[in-house]
């Protein structure tokens, strides 16, 4: 257990211009979080577990088409619609800006999934099963969920906890393995940075389309993007106009009022699809 936990506010920025739709994040998530194997029949039943998924959209008419990719994961909304509807507080907001799910408390009303505009909550319709040879591959830091329980992206909270222990108890620099001076063993954004804590999908992304940081972190690029996005919300709340043509920053389904901690950067299309009829 760590003692001096600081208040973080974790956030992710998804740069759609960099996303190639390679699904490395999906695989990384699957491996990290003990997600059952999505078989063909799970997909056909529309019950596949994809804590992060790449949605593919086609733009334009054949033959002038482009594939558009958007990774969608739990947005860890500030005003999460899933939280107030759970009768047993199985999902709630912790003080690190994470929307967390307590599997043991879940009774399976499925109201949270109904009320999630991003459909990123996954119900265990069947008892999850792995092939025998995968038994030893399960991540010991992550609960194996049972049937009848709702689950979702946690921003790899187990990595956060391990990082905290690494810094405060073991005092090891994550990348170099050097000892951290005792005075510096604080759980602030300087220590809990890239290399020490990042979700599996961010780590796996080959194009750095996913960026992850504490929103209090003043050194990284994430804070500036979040400030711009929060400025947009403020402008809209005061009835102002946001010039969407000249900014890349947006949040998914902002009109629902969820205030996600996940920000998307629009694609910068050098060669837009020619939409004129031929």
């Amino acid at each position: 257990m760590v003692t001096q936990r600081e208040n973080h506010k974790w956030g992710m920025v998804v740069d759609l211009d960099r996303c190639t739709g390679c699904q490395a994040c999906v695989v990384a998530c699957q491996a990290e979080n003990n997600i059952p194997i999505n078989t063909q029949s799970y997909f056909q039943q529309r019950r596949a577990y994809e804590w992060i998924r790449i949605e593919r959209y086609w733009e334009g008419e054949f033959p002038n088409v482009k594939a558009r990719f958007i990774p969608i994961l739990c947005q860890h909304c500030e005003n999460a619609p899933c939280e107030p509807v759970c009768p047993v507080f199985a999902t709630y907001h912790n003080d690190e800006g994470l929307n967390v799910q307590v599997y043991n408390r879940c009774i399976g009303t499925r109201y949270c999934s109904v009320n999630c505009p991003y459909t990123v909550r996954f119900f265990n319709f069947w008892q999850p099963q792995w092939p025998d040879r995968f038994r030893n591959q399960l991540n010991p830091d992550v609960t194996v969920r049972t049937r009848g329980v709702m689950e979702k992206c946690t921003f790899c909270v187990q990595r956060l906890r391990r990082g905290e222990v690494n810094v405060e108890r073991r005092g090891l620099e994550p990348l170099t393995g050097e000892r951290i001076p005792v005075a510096d063993r604080k759980l602030n954004y300087r220590q809990m940075k890239e290399g020490n804590y990042m979700p599996a999908c961010v780590q796996a992304c080959p194009t750095n389309a996913l960026q992850f940081a504490d929103q209090h972190d003043e050194t990284g690029p994430v804070k500036a993007i979040f400030e711009e996005a929060n400025g947009q919300i403020e402008t809209r709340e005061h009835g102002g106009h946001v010039d969407e043509a000249h900014t890349r920053v947006y949040r998914l389904f902002e009109e629902v009022g969820t205030k996600p901690n996940l920000i998307y950067l629009k694609k910068v299309d050098a060669f837009p699809v020619d939409k004129r009829p031929r």
Partner: protein, 463 residues
């Protein structure tokens, strides 16, 4: 001016207790057939609990399906009891008398059945202890400061439904006391003692009558706010869901309440027609009663239709792409559009056109067709609100899907209908489904005497 011949008190007792004191041949046959259906449904629920929710047709966008539809439907049916007993009692509608008891008992049984649905819906019923039964003697995690989340409609909902269930049971029992006393005097052995206990020492003296009437009127008045709130709160399960475009509407509460009265009163009319047929209660459930219910239903149905049209109009008025997507599914895409046409036809146009004609209102066969069609239609209404709304929740078209109920869900839903019917048939063997004393009171009130040329009631009601 009421129709029919005057009835003697002795005759009322004899004819209305026929369901209890005589045992018809068909009784055990009906009970066993219905019980078999209930057993099949229970084994289907057992399969579901054993295997998990995979055996249903639910999927990621459509997490709520047949069970929630059925829950809302049975809660809706339960609204007939208060509508007929409390509201018509307070508004002194004389024709309510034979309908009240059946309506109240239908209320209690449909509420009990409705409360089963969320239990099955969670897939692990033993866990619902943490949701509904948050009483001190249940191991709820108070020690760690974990309380039920009062912000969720899923906590308001059981609170409202349980309040309604408690007050309905109280309502039925208070109204039953004089009839239990009649039964106590006409039975022997064990049933004599049980009825004696239930009659609570009823002697029929003026003080007891006064207390019983006061209790009835008080309960009628107190149950009214519950009546309005129950289905409002059930509708907020949907109305409060900000993310489901077609549910998130302020019109849902009155829309659902009126719809509940529509289906509930139709169900009671159907029950009355069946009772009249099987027990030969032609003298009690007369054409005028069914006629009056039909006239009431014309008003209720038209009120419901107004809300239905408004809900759709509001949807289109916003012209938001996500709302239009839901409406497109409901009105343009097969098979949803076919169900939609059927639903509007059998919930409004068919029954109301029947109820508008006096001769149709007095033809019991046509009336029962109208009542059945209303109830099928209202079931479809809930289904067509819940499932298309979820299937087109938001604009992420990648996640759009449909819903195909599985055999397990069908069996459980059919089982609930069999269960309510079975409970009604069983209770008809135990308590009189038409209140004896209420009929007698009506007989006294309708006695008329002729003074000179005018005919005036022989008794005046002092209230």
């Amino acid at each position: 001016m009421q129709e029919g011949t005057p009835l003697q008190s002795r005759q009322v007792n004899r004819e209305l207790l026929v369901s209890i004191l005589n045992s018809p041949k068909w009784f055990w046959m009906v009970i066993s057939v219905l019980g078999l259906i209930v057993l099949i449904a229970m084994s289907a629920a057992g399969v579901l609990i054993n295997q998990g929710f995979g055996v249903t047709g639910l999927n990621r966008p459509v997490m709520w399906g047949f069970f929630i539809t059925n829950f809302v439907f049975w809660i809706g049916i339960s609204h007939a009891g208060v509508m007929l007993s409390a509201i018509l009692r307070l508004s002194k509608a004389e024709w309510r008398r034979p309908a009240t008891r059946a309506a109240e008992i239908l209320t209690v049984f449909s509420l009990l059945t409705a409360m089963l649905m969320p239990l099955i819906h969670t897939g692990r019923p033993w866990r619902t202890v943490y949701w509904i039964y948050t009483l001190p003697f249940v191991p709820y995690d108070y020690a760690r400061g974990i309380w039920p989340n009062v912000r969720t409609p899923l906590v308001w909902d059981p609170s409202a439904v349980y309040t309604y269930l408690t007050s309905s049971i109280l309502f039925v029992l208070v109204a039953l006391i004089p009839d239990f006393a009649v039964l106590r005097d006409r039975t022997t052995g064990l049933s004599h003692r049980i009825y004696g206990m239930l009659a609570m020492g009823w002697q029929g003296n003026p003080r007891q009558w006064k207390l019983q009437i006061i209790a009835g009127v008080l309960l009628s008045a107190l149950i009214l706010p519950v009546f309005v709130s129950v289905h409002s709160i059930v509708s907020w399960d949907f109305g409060m869901a900000v993310s489901v475009k077609s549910w998130h509407s302020t019109i849902f509460a009155p829309y659902f309440v009126v719809g509940a009265v529509h289906s509930g009163v139709s169900a009671v009319a159907l029950v009355l027609i069946v009772l009249r047929y099987i027990y030969g209660w032609q003298n009690y459930i007369r054409h005028e009663h069914i006629d009056a219910l039909g006239r009431l239903l014309v008003v209720v149905a038209t009120g419901w239709f107004y809300f239905f049209v408004m809900e759709v109009v509001f949807g289109f008025y916003g012209r938001e792409a996500d709302e239009i997507a839901v409406r497109n599914l409901q009105f343009m895409v097969s098979p949803w559009n076919i169900w939609m046409i059927i639903f509007v036809g059998i919930t409004y146009f068919l029954p109301v056109s029947i109820w508008l004609s006096r001769s149709c209102r007095r033809n019991l066969w046509i009336m029962s067709v109208a009542c059945i069609s209303v109830n099928i239609g209202m079931w479809l209404e809930r289904f067509l609100i819940i499932v298309p709304g979820l299937a087109r929740k938001q604009l992420l078209t990648f996640d759009w899907y449909t819903y195909r109920p599985s055999l397990v869900e069908w069996l459980i839903v059919i089982g609930t209908f069999a269960m309510v019917s079975m409970l009604m048939v069983t209770i008809a063997k135990v308590v009189p489904l038409i209140p004896l004393y209420d009929i007698k009171e009506g007989e006294i009130l309708r006695t008329e005497i002729k003074i000179g040329r005018v005919t005036v009631p022989a008794t005046f009601r002092e209230d």
